[in-house]
């Protein structure tokens, strides 16, 4: 039986508001930098410099990008379904921001938990909220009234069912070892050893599924800029398109955050306790670099290849991993 995590931490309302604002500010400060970092790194991976003209080292490039996107017309095709078309880019933003709430940045310090909220069903919450993002893909693709968008959305749906199960099972091993669904408790359980060591298979499967969850290469079939001209985003323009892009990076941060908390010991690291959020951020950024590195390396899979990978390899491997973990936890 999994004990219910302790969420009896009582905080003043203003503390909660300040926490939310700080998390918001930090994450939305990092997101634009991530886009530059990615473009610069991809450039370096290809013997190029990447953007380096706007501001020092091209740091201000996202400002220029957003400026451009804002000046564009918010175009909507004549045969689109207006409500759903507008809802398309909004749902993923909502889901991304909701998922940010449970990423643990540190332990309870001076009566303040350094996280948005410690949900007793933490990881289930992540799956529930994270899957909403795919409604954005599906609605956006369907409501656009365009063939390419619909194809992208269909691929998105096919992709969703093939990785989601394996992703859940990959985390199950860590949940069994941590004895709780709460991310804070799971981090606490890694005091002796980070879960990446005993749960290496789980980590690999989770990261693979994470690439699919965030629509990143090698699993970016819903977007597929080469064949589907950005898939479900084809008909979007201006800041609606921008918010789809923004969400992609936010999802990368969320998946990195969950992976860092569950497998890489969360906020744990040497140094005084006020460095905890820095450690968490550093681990997340390390995983973000992995995302970028993989994007620069691997070509896109066909979507039947992803489905066969998800169902025939990842799912059995994850199941085996859970079984072995469960047996070992009971025996030892």
């Amino acid at each position: 039986m999994i004990p219910i995590a302790d969420t009896q931490l009582v905080e003043a309302t203003w503390v909660m508001i300040v926490k939310s604002l700080v998390i918001f500010a930090v994450i939305f400060g990092i997101l634009p930098l991530m886009t530059v970092l990615e473009r610069k790194l991809i450039g370096r991976f290809q013997h190029r410099y990447g953007p380096n003209r706007v501001g020092p080292f091209g740091i201000l490039q996202p400002l220029a990008d957003v400026g451009k996107l804002l000046s564009k017309e918010a175009f909507m095709p004549a045969n689109a379904i207006p409500t759903l078309f507008v809802l398309g880019p909004l749902l993923p933003v909502l889901s991304g921001v909701l998922a940010l709430a449970i990423i643990p940045w540190g332990d309870v310090q001076d009566g303040v938990g350094l996280y948005g909220i410690d949900v007793p069903i933490g990881i289930l919450y992540f799956f529930a909220v994270g899957s909403i993002a795919f409604y954005g893909v599906l609605l956006g693709g369907w409501a656009s009234g365009s063939k390419y968008s619909l194809l992208g959305a269909m691929r998105g749906a096919a992709q969703l069912i093939s990785y989601e199960v394996a992703m859940g099972l990959a985390l199950l091993g860590a949940i069994i070892m941590g004895g709780s669904l709460s991310l804070v408790d799971i981090v606490h359980a890694q005091g002796a050893m980070w879960f990446i060591v005993p749960q290496f298979v789980g980590f690999l499967i989770f990261m693979l599924a994470g690439f699919a969850e965030t629509n990143r290469t090698p699993f970016d079939m819903p977007e597929a800029d080469a064949e589907l001209v950005q898939g479900f985003m084809t008909e979007y323009g201006g800041m609606r398109f921008g918010s789809f892009l923004l969400v992609e990076y936010m999802e990368i941060l969320v998946v990195s955050g969950i992976a860092a908390a569950v497998f890489l010991g969360g906020w744990m690291g040497p140094g005084p306790s006020f460095l905890d959020p820095i450690w968490m951020l550093a681990k997340m950024l390390g995983l973000v670099l992995l995302f970028i590195w993989v994007r620069a390396t691997l070509p896109r899979l066909r979507y039947d290849q992803l489905m066969s990978l998800g169902w025939k390899v990842l799912l059995p491997l994850a199941t085996l991993n859970v079984l072995v973990t469960a047996v070992l936890v009971v025996v030892l």
């Binding site: 370096r44 013997h47 190029r48 410099y49 993989v294 390396t297 691997l298 390899v313």
Partner: protein, 180 residues
């Protein structure tokens, strides 16, 4: 090759085939190949960019690069080498050189010869940089320089006069070092 007698005397290349994709073995091999790919891209990252940041950083040219023309003077006397013979204009396939010759007045000589070029114009918007003028010139008065940045907003500005061709270029194009 006994089963293909009609191929007996031909060069038959046996195609090496890798293991069939798919399955657990395929996934394992794909994982290994992925790691190899990651290593490859990381090596590219460490090598660093090869881009030449053009306006700030210029590609050095080879010594025989045919850029913008130069007219020359004798270094000791300061007289122009060009004697206005118009051989360059005759050789020019693009017909972009215009030479009007005039007699040298004793005491106020412009060139070393009997005559000099009163007008020497090259229309660089027509020039194809073939270097025939350089070859045709009997006095080495015109040579191809190393400058290649000649873009302008007006076509009129691309008609280079004698003074412009005699003057040193404002900005020097880097020359490629030996063995570079």
């Amino acid at each position: 090759m006994t089963e293909f007698p009609y191929l007996k005397d031909q060069d038959v290349v046996e195609v090496q085939r890798g293991p069939e994709p798919g399955g657990v073995g395929g996934a394992y091999r794909a994982f290994g190949e992925t790691l190899r790919g990651l290593k490859t891209t990381m090596a590219r990252l460490i090598e660093g960019p090869l881009t030449i940041q053009y306006p700030e950083e210029k590609t050095p040219v080879y010594p025989r690069f045919r850029g913008r023309h130069k007219l020359h003077k004798f270094e000791d006397t300061g007289l122009e080498k060009c004697v206005g013979c118009s051989l360059c204009a005759a050789a020019c396939p693009a017909d972009c050189i215009r030479v009007v010759a005039a007699e040298n007045i004793p005491g106020d000589r412009v060139s070393a010869g009997e005559r000099y070029a009163a007008v020497y114009e090259i229309n660089l918007s027509r020039c194809i940089f073939c270097g025939y003028c350089e070859i045709a010139c009997p006095f080495d008065a015109i040579t191809m320089g190393h400058d290649y940045e000649m873009a302008d907003y007006d076509r009129e500005n691309l008609i280079f006069t004698k003074e412009m061709l005699l003057a040193e270029p404002i900005e020097r194009t880097p020359l490629r070092a030996e063995g570079e």
